[in-house]
């Protein structure tokens, strides 16, 4: 029998049994749609975290105190060796690949001002902090190098504080008391949302590092150094440069373990991505199981259909259908069923992904290769689970099939 005719026969039989066709396809439809939605959610989470990490600032390099290497017994990163303002000066003096450098002096404070009080963190940084973090102000100004020299008691605050202390009014010009030291608010940061690690990035007070260091922190060290490499292509060289300058500053001998750690945001990104990739794989495998169950559904219905259509098969054989013709007809039916189910599933998957996005505000990303993959998998399921029933149909004895009512 010609392929064209076989396909015609298979299509006719599918169209003739609309209800059965729909029920058979349902499993595949749900399976494919589930795979697409789940992978879209997983990929969306992945992308969101990537964006958040990118939002930490491009070309960002961080220096932490302490070594992250785990050879032998190591101290926690806040114990023992410290980073100091001397390190910052040393870096400023000697580096060639860094565009901007800022120390970070952190202190948890109780903030009094506006309509009440609030527990937050104050970050003492340099005037180039906003450039390093790719951050903008929504109103007011940032402090300057002069303010740092003068240890001015001024600050810039995040949106969370604006919301909680000033009921969303513009706080520029107002006073805040940080541990009883009065600070004047000179600017407001743009909203940034959660960090990749769940921290509220808007719950911050940014002030000149000199002021925080000498008036609030009360500790003779700084917590972190942030730097911005001049170009993305020179990240590695910049990191190497920082490492060698820092070793010099800390007077480390050749071969001695570093007592600080230099990292960039891609290092952090890869850790976070690993986590979300596991999530995506998990979601996809759960959804794949439903696709498999859909395939078993096809096999089930096809088997019933072979029994139900035994008489028809007998007639076809009597008028000259070869076993192979019957096999191919049933196989094509299974494949057409699963592929159309796959196609409908893809469409529903797109729709459901959009609805999930609207309803939960989650990031969703539909990757074309995943759509093609689940569509192809649906086809493969059709061939795999359609083959056994098709074989069964083809092996029928024409006399018995004709006699079957």
């Amino acid at each position: 029998m010609k392929w064209k005719n076989l396909i015609k026969v298979a299509f006719k039989s599918i169209v003739k049994n609309k209800m059965r066709t729909l029920l058979t396809m349902l499993g595949i439809i749900i399976g494919v749609a589930a795979v697409i939605v789940m992978v879209a959610i997983g990929k969306g989470a992945e992308q969101r975290i990537q964006n958040q990490i990118a939002s930490m600032g491009t070309n960002l390099i961080m220096v932490f105190p302490g070594s992250m290497q785990s050879r032998g017994v190591h101290m926690g990163s806040d114990q023992g060796v410290r980073l100091t303002l001397d390190d910052v000066e040393w870096l400023k003096k000697n580096s060639t690949l860094l565009e901007a450098i800022s120390p970070v002096v952190r202190s948890g404070v109780q903030v009094i001002g506006g309509s009440g009080n609030w527990n937050s963190s104050v970050y003492g940084v340099s005037e180039s902090y906003l450039a390093i973090r790719d951050w903008k102000l929504s109103s007011g100004d940032f402090f300057t190098a002069n303010d740092i020299r003068a240890q001015s008691k001024i600050c810039v605050i995040g949106q969370t504080l604006v919301k909680n202390l000033f009921a969303n009014e513009d706080p520029v010009g107002r006073q805040l008391r940080l541990r009883n030291v009065p600070f004047r608010v000179i600017g407001v940061l743009k909203e940034r949302g959660q960090s990749a690690f769940g921290q509220d990035q808007d719950d911050v007070i940014i002030a000149p590092y000199s002021t925080v260091y000498y008036r609030l922190s009360g500790q003779p060290h700084i917590h972190q150094i942030l730097a911005r490499a001049a170009s993305l292509n020179q990240m590695e060289q910049a990191q190497a440069e920082i490492t060698s300058i820092m070793r010099e500053s800390h007077k480390l001998a050749e071969g001695e373990d570093a007592d600080f750690t230099v990292r960039n945001q891609t290092d952090i990104a890869s850790t976070a991505q690993e986590t979300t990739r596991v999530l995506t794989i998990l979601l996809a495998s759960i959804a794949s199981i439903s696709l498999l169950v859909g395939g078993i559904g096809i096999m089930n219905i096809m088997l019933v259909s072979v029994t139900e259509r035994t008489h028809e098969i007998g007639i076809r054989m009597a008028v000259g259908a070869r076993s192979r013709d019957i096999l191919v007809q049933f196989l094509i039916e299974a494949i057409v069923l699963s592929l159309s189910g796959g196609l409908i599933g893809v469409m529903i998957g797109f729709g459901a992904t959009y609805i999930v996005h609207l309803a939960t505000d989650w990031n969703t990303v539909i990757a074309m290769e995943n759509v093609l993959l689940s569509f192809g998998f649906a086809g493969a399921v059709g061939v795999f689970f359609g083959y056994y029933p098709a074989r069964k149909a083809a092996a029928l004895n024409p006399i018995e099939a004709l006699r079957y009512e």
């Binding site: 003739k16 008489h311 000259g320 004709l402």
Partner: protein, 256 residues
Amino acid sequence: MNSKEAVIRTEGVTKIYDSGEVQVEALKGIDLAINPGELLAIMGASGSGKSTMLNIFGCLDYPSRGDYFLDGIHVNDLDRDQLADIRNRKIGFVFQGFNLLARTTAFENVELPLLYTRNVPNQDINLLTRQALERVGLTDRAQHYPNQLSGGQQQRVAIARALVNQPAIILADEPTGNLDTRTSIEIMATFQELNRQGITIILVTHEHDIADYCHRVIEFRDGLIIRDQALPHPHDAAKDLETGQWKTFAGQGVPS
């Protein structure tokens, strides 16, 4: 007629059904020759072996022993696929229960054998299908579904399907068994007309009235032929329908 090459020839055809414990000999060495252009009735009670004979004639089954030649082809030597091709090209089946595909138009039912024939161009499929429907007088019913047709019309669709591939023989298994007397005679008129056009027809029937329209009657009993008789003056179905003659033997169609 004997000078012609027989379209069906059996030599010592035996069929044994082996169900493990019991062996049933359904045919006990049948020697038979059927010539082209015959209209032949096979009669016999249930279990007489006539259905088994028809299955072998129809290449649906192999003989256990003996040789079967259809149109000069030694069927014993053929494999399953070759049998399917023989059924497709040489044989047209007509069944008691019509055996049309449900939810499938008359046209699609008739074209079915052609779809399984290799190397038939699509325009030929269309043409042959329309010709076959025309020969049984159902051109205007081509797009009807079986459940929209009367029993007689359904059987004529089945006959058109049997005809469509221009087979060497038509095998009809109790073609009038599900039909009333008048419709039965109409079907016999169709068969007689086709036979006059040169088609060999073998039909199995219980009814003597039906056999009376044939040129030759063979009767089976217990796997053997007990009667092989030529009817020199068969009834003319078309004339019977015209004259109303059939009414006089209504009710006499007692199974033999």
